[in-house]
Amino acid sequence: MSQATLYSVSYDLSNTIASALGSVLPSGARDLITSSGVVTGFAVVIFAVIILAATMLNTILLIWWERKLLGRFMDRRGAMHVGFAGLLQNFADGFKLFRKDTVKPREADPLGFYFGPTAYMITSLAIFGILPISSGWDTGALPLTLLLALAIFAFAPLFIFVSAWSSNNKYSLMGGMRSAAQMIAYEVPLLLAVVSVVIVAGSFDLNTIVYEQQNYWFWGPLILALIVFVAAMLAEMERIPFDLPEAEAELVEGWNTEYGGMFFAFFMFTDYLRALVGSVLVVLLFFGGWTLPSWVPSVATSWPLAGIFWFMVKTYIVFGVFVWIRASLPRVRTDQLLRVGWNRMIPLGLVSVFVAALLVVAKCVWPFGCLPTP
């Protein structure tokens, strides 16, 4: 049997369910249910559910991971009394927010007020439909995965601004404007960093990009691009030191000041969802995705789902670095942030594009090695 992929797993599952269902049904219905069209459609649904569940679980785990790590950075324990080592803490938070009232301010615009956070979450969730997490565990042959992911990723400021504006609060409005400004400002360096990776890999397909990293991971030669990418990602994820839109010290809770209950949960959840996207992209673009260096003994990778495992480990370590940054740096100011974005990050990104071009021309660079021959 060939290696299990996400699609094959869901297809098998769908097939099993269909035949089990069909065995107890009369023959006409059995034929309908076990027909290839129904099974395939059912497989697609299962496929989506798996992705959704895995994403949500991972995001919640990511919040737990941040809380525990942050606790240790701060010489305390973090959530620990709900569930094993506090693992159920975020489920409790989620349930509670789900049950809690959402108060809509009287003057708020209802359409934007409810549409903003919902669209913010849905668009961010959609990214996971196209991100590969191991070989075969993806939606299949989309040639422009990276571009599509970044395009969907860039929707967010719009929805943030819509929800901030609709909640009719001065703090929300200021937070929304800051958010829009900084996301737009950092979109350019983000794309420049990505472009340098794309130049080296020669493809927008994330699978190909990972494949191209089999000899060396890109973070070594493209360290400049990595720095630009991480900085821009921090700004896009709105994390310290670039968490100006929800700067607690001056804007009460930033653009989600007026949100409570489920919509606040959407915001909180989506923030971490985007953090997960960021970490995943860093791993995919610069740290070889689910692959391990060739000197690692094959026993580490030969068992099933090893690719997913190592991919998750890398993702969580990358996110741990984000937490480390959060624990040790203060917040910058809006004008400084924008100045850094336009004056430093864009030139650095251009330089990294140049470096990437040199890398392609040189093919082999000491001490990293050569690019794989196509």
Binding site: R72, D75, R77
Partner: protein, 259 residues
Amino acid sequence: MATEITATEKPNQNPILWVARPMATAARQFAKSLFRPSTIVYPYERLEDPEFREKVAVASGKPIGLGQVWDNYRGVHALNIATCISCNLCQFSCPDLCIEMVTVPGGDPKHPKKCPEIDYGKCSYCGFCSDACPEGCLTMTTRYELSVTKRSDMVYSPQRLNEVFKTKLPMNPIRLARPANEDSILLDVPLCIGCNACARDCPTQCITMLDIPKPEAKAGEKIPKRIWKEPVVNDSDCVRCGTCISVCPKECLFWGTRK
């Protein structure tokens, strides 16, 4: 950096690589707290628990509970009803007016025994009452957990305070010595009518009524109608509660320095 500071130890903490220094500090703290953070896992570990202080707080090398002397913590009061003499000093010393003297069983009907009832919703835990208590029967313990769901549960009756006393919590060991030059109760002799009120109500029974000679009636002078007794205060037994002054109908007792 434009700012200069006159300092003995110049803070030579200029940035290295923009942000490397704080990140290194945070990482160092991370490594330190990986095994045992400074957090006290509160309902299970308690600072006032001496065993915890010795085994974890001091031994772990963490700054938990350094410099603790818990016996003198000012928490809930403990009242020993048996030794309370109903002198009201705690009530009068209370700056927050949270102590009320209520009758407890045990006194004689003429002379009911009164013990403090404390409203912890008003008490500011200043310790004046336990400092004032001449018998040491009202002390403060290390108990501090006082969350209730009904406001009226915060009022501790004398019996409830007595229960706290029976639990033998560590109690405040500091007892203040009485001042050397305490004032005494003096008598404004011409005003006294010998009514015995002060001796009757004295919580320590340190006032005795002594007979005084009835003066001879002189011509043109009326002998005042009174009982021919006069209070004499035993200063060594007196706790200076001032009950006698307050019950005196003629305001003839007052504070002063005995010659």
